[in-house]
Amino acid sequence: MKTILLIEDNADDEELTLYAFRKSNMANHIIVAHDGQEALELLFGPEDGERSRLRLRPSVVLLDLKLPKVSGLDVLRRIRSDPRSRFLPVIVLTSSREQEDLIASYRLGCNSYVRKPVNFLEFVEAARHLDLYWLLLNESPPCK
């Protein structure tokens, strides 16, 4: 089964995102990391040892920018700098529309940048689009 890794510290946003994906009827498996460090451990294992494979190989990563401990941008930088995960599709999913965040995210190589709408129906719609596009239409890169 295809897996989505959701990196989100806000419990409300987590619940709403999970609900929205359930509504979109895609029977995907969503794993949640609640901060940047937890996300890195899920992906790369607890220590930075030399492993030939990623510990977790999601089809897509949904990344919030403002995270405790390791920030979203640092997570993105880490993912892109590791040969095992450099092609992993990463979608920034955030509240911010600040230009600096957009530029920094694209500079670090995010695949897409989606601003969470306040309107929940729009949010459900966005989740449905993301699900459809990144898990069904898009061909995932070969991942170690």
């Binding site: 806000n10 409300d12 946003d13 709403l16 609900y19 920018l65 403002k66 955030t94 509240s95 911010s96 529309r97 600040e98 969470k116 709408p117 306040v118 309107n119 929940f120 129906l121 949010f123």
Partner: protein, 386 residues
């Protein structure tokens, strides 16, 4: 020939025993003695005359202390090289030295800054040099005071700039927090209300209305936050001045409005070739607000018309955006450009009341002006100069 030279008269080597006037005319001597500027005269490299102001400058009690000495001796050693150079100039036409700054040496060994002007002539084969000084002590003190004031001012400006930079950084952090943190709880309220509303299958119309009100309120607050962020961004963003095609930009903005509301039939007339010098991003935000307003306030007109053009008045280009929409009462025109000021009910025409405040800020950043004319139900004209 300068004034001093004329006064003493040119003395050619060929005119034999003619005396220079200060030797022949006691009246000239008296005049020289009275002048407030220090003046001395040398002949054959010996000082032969000094006036009272000159004695005061040199702190000399009587002229015997000075008469007979070499002119170089009354200058401070620091200025000797300069004086020697000036003497060389005095040997050749026009035999004058324009004002140069030097230092004289007083009887008690102090140095006094002076401005020196000199002219020379020949008398009986000897070189006569007239020297006029101007005491620069006070001017130097004033210059030093100005210099110190300037330095103080620069220090203060640097300090204020630092404070301003810090304040701007704080503002940036604040705006970021508003953008991110204020929207998150709003999303939770809107989202869970929607979920609750959908899961309660049996609701009265009244209950349904209340759910919708909560959701509508969160959306309105979301719009407010976005507009406030735009307003602050307008002041924060770096300004790039360039030539901007306003006609083309207006066409694009209206095309977007048409896409968003394809059901509306609005006639849009734009003058060709409207160009302004300004920041492209900011001018786009401005046109989006102004044309968006015109679009919104003509919603109830059967034949809506929006016009964007320019006139030339007293050498300046005045742009205007005119509509035939709801207009407003000119009595409230003063409130129009303030943040959160609305001249229509939200139910009548939606909006946050931040749009024209944003426009005002953009115009301010361009150093221009903006004003409005309107009549209730007869449309509004917003004019601006960039």
């Amino acid at each position: 020939m300068n004034a001093t030279g004329c006064f003493f008269g040119p003395a050619d080597a060929g005119d034999g025993g003619r005396l220079v006037p200060w030797e022949s005319e006691p009246r000239y001597r008296e005049l020289l003695a009275m002048l407030p500027n220090p003046i001395f005269v040398s002949r054959g490299n010996r000082i032969v005359f000094i006036n009272a102001a000159g004695l005061r400058l040199l702190q000399a009690s009587d002229e015997e202390q000075v008469i007979g000495r070499e002119p170089l001796e009354i200058f401070h050693p620091e200025s000797h090289a300069l004086v020697v150079e000036c003497c060389a100039q005095l040997l050749e036409a026009p035999r004058t030295v324009p004002a140069v700054e030097a230092k004289v040496l007083t009887m008690d060994g102090a140095s006094v800054p002076v401005e020196v002007t000199a002219a020379s002539s020949l008398s009986d084969g000897e070189m006569v040099v007239e020297v006029v000084c101007c005491d620069l002590t006070e001017r130097k003190a004033a210059e030093a005071a100005i210099h110190s004031l300037n330095e103080d001012l620069e220090r203060r400006v640097a300090l204020r700039t630092e404070e301003l930079v810090a304040a701007n950084k704080e503002l940036d952090a604040f705006c970021y927090a508003v953008s991110h943190d204020l929207r998150a709880p709003l999303r939770a309220i809107a989202g869970f209300t929607r979920i609750l509303s959908e899961s309660c299958a049996t609701k009265t119309d009244e209950e349904n209305d209340y759910f919708e009100r909560v959701i509508a309120a969160t959306e309105r607050m979301g719009c407010l936050i976005d507009d406030l962020l735009n307003l602050s961004r307008v002041s924060r963003e770096v300004f790039h001045r360039e030539s901007v095609n306003l006609s083309g930009m207006a066409e694009e903005v209206v095309a977007e409005l048409r896409r968003a509301e394809p059901g509306r039939d609005v006639e849009f007339v734009v003058a060709e070739g409207l160009v302004a010098q300004g920041d492209e991003r900011l001018l786009r935000i401005m046109l989006e607000n102004l044309l968006g307003n015109a679009w919104k306030f003509t919603a109830r007109k059967a034949s809506a018309r929006i016009e964007f053009g320019a006139t030339s008045e007293r050498g300046e280009k005045r742009f205007f955006i005119r509509d035939n929409g709801a207009g407003f009462d000119m009595r409230y025109a003063g409130k129009l450009f303030g943040a959160f000021q609305r001249l229509h009910g939200v139910k009548e025409f939606p909006g946050t009341g931040i749009g024209l405040a944003t426009v005002q800020r953009i115009i301010n950043r361009h150093g221009g002006r903006v004003w409005a004319e309107a009549e209730v139900d007869r449309g509004a004209t917003i004019s601006f100069v960039l």
